[in-house]
């Protein structure tokens, strides 16, 4: 029984959504990005974010769909 031999699910399916995960430890601190997760919907993304990034005692955690982040400029581009 090899790893993942029991299911036909794929790691990332066509409808998977990428989410950025933000958190902070204290109210005085700003929210900052701590990582990202991939999930098919918001519910699962919340569960995955909490499970993956729970090594710290965060007082706040939030996720944002990556497609909803509006970029002003990228590295290498003039401001």
């Amino acid at each position: 029984m090899g790893p993942r031999s029991l299911t036909s699910y794929k790691r990332v399916s066509g409808d998977a959504i990428e989410y950025e995960v933000f958190a902070r430890k204290t109210r005085a601190e700003s929210l900052h990005q701590v990582g990202s997760v991939v999930a098919p919907d918001d519910d699962l993304a919340m569960a995955y974010a909490r499970a993956t990034y729970d090594e710290e005692r965060w007082c706040e955690m939030a996720i944002v769909r990556k497609e909803h982040v509006i970029e002003l400029w990228q590295p290498g581009e003039a401001q």
């Binding site: 790893p3 993942r4 029991l6 299911t7 699910y9 794929k10 790691r11 990332v12 997760v37 991939v38 999930a39 098919p40 919907d41 519910d43 699962l44 919340m46 569960a47 995955y48 909490r50 499970a51 993956t52 729970d54």
Partner: protein
């Protein structure tokens, strides 16, 4: 039967649920699901420790010495007797049974027993993420067999309409009785339970299940620390070192 019996039943089931979740920490369909399985396993094992710790302040610990030798003395559901071989079994347990346990914990928190009101509240917050995980995977679609089995065992676990859970509800120790618990479970999962017919004459009120049987030998050995001892150095080897 007392509230201690219900607490012990939740504890034994959460312990087994945690162990079965942990078995999938490297076999789930995605890396994120692997991590979630490990995290939920840790949560449920931790919850079981808290629940066992409630038995003494409740004044009656129903655990006897037979728990060291007889796997059938543990009060876990038949769903946990054997390791799961399909992801669908994980999802059905995660969505239906884990949520059923949470609904009863909610009934304890909103009931009149002070120690349960205080000690179990935090579990509800952690369980929110188990619920989101289970419901989302459930919506993605799984086979009917494990799902029907999980629903049947949840209904059995809530108990008969005139049983001790109903009595504890009347006494105010639990805020919900079997019909309210089932309605709450259905509301949470946004689906109706299949039509479950339970032969309550064959139902074991201690183990809250109808099926005979017990957990597999290896898991029972693990619970008693025997599996771990297999990997410990022998006393002779320790002396030589």
């Amino acid at each position: 039967m007392s509230i201690s019996d219900i607490v012990l039943s939740i504890a034994d089931n959460k312990q087994m649920l945690g162990l079965r979740y942990a078995e999938w920490a490297t076999r789930a369909p995605s890396l994120e699901a692997d991590i979630a399985a490990a995290a939920m396993g840790l949560d449920d094992l931790g919850h079981s420790r808290v629940l066992y710790g409630c038995l003494e302040p409740l004044g009656a610990d129903p655990r006897g010495p037979e728990r060291e030798s007889d796997p059938a003395s543990l009060r876990a559901l038949a769903y946990f007797d054997q390791p799961w071989t399909e992801w669908a079994q994980f999802v059905a347990a995660n969505a239906v049974l884990d949520t059923a346990f949470t609904v009863v914990i909610e009934a304890c928190v909103n009931g009149s027993v002070e120690v349960l009101q205080h000690r179990l509240r935090k579990m509800l917050m952690e369980e929110r993420y188990h619920f989101l995980h289970g419901r989302s995977w459930l919506k993605s679609g799984i086979g009917a067999e494990p799902l029907n089995r999980a629903w049947t065992e949840a209904v059995e676990w809530f108990g008969p309409p005139d049983g001790e859970v109903a009595a504890l509800h009347r006494e105010g120790k639990l805020s919900m009785g079997p019909p309210e618990l089932l309605a709450k479970l259905e509301e949470q999962l946004e689906v109706k339970s299949p039509d479950v017919r339970v032969d309550w004459a064959k139902w074991d009120p201690n183990r809250r299940r109808s099926k005979p049987g017990a957990i597999d030998e290896q898991t029972f050995g693990m619970l008693r620390g025997l599996e771990e001892k297999k990997f410990a150095p022998s006393s002779a080897a320790t002396k030589e070192a």
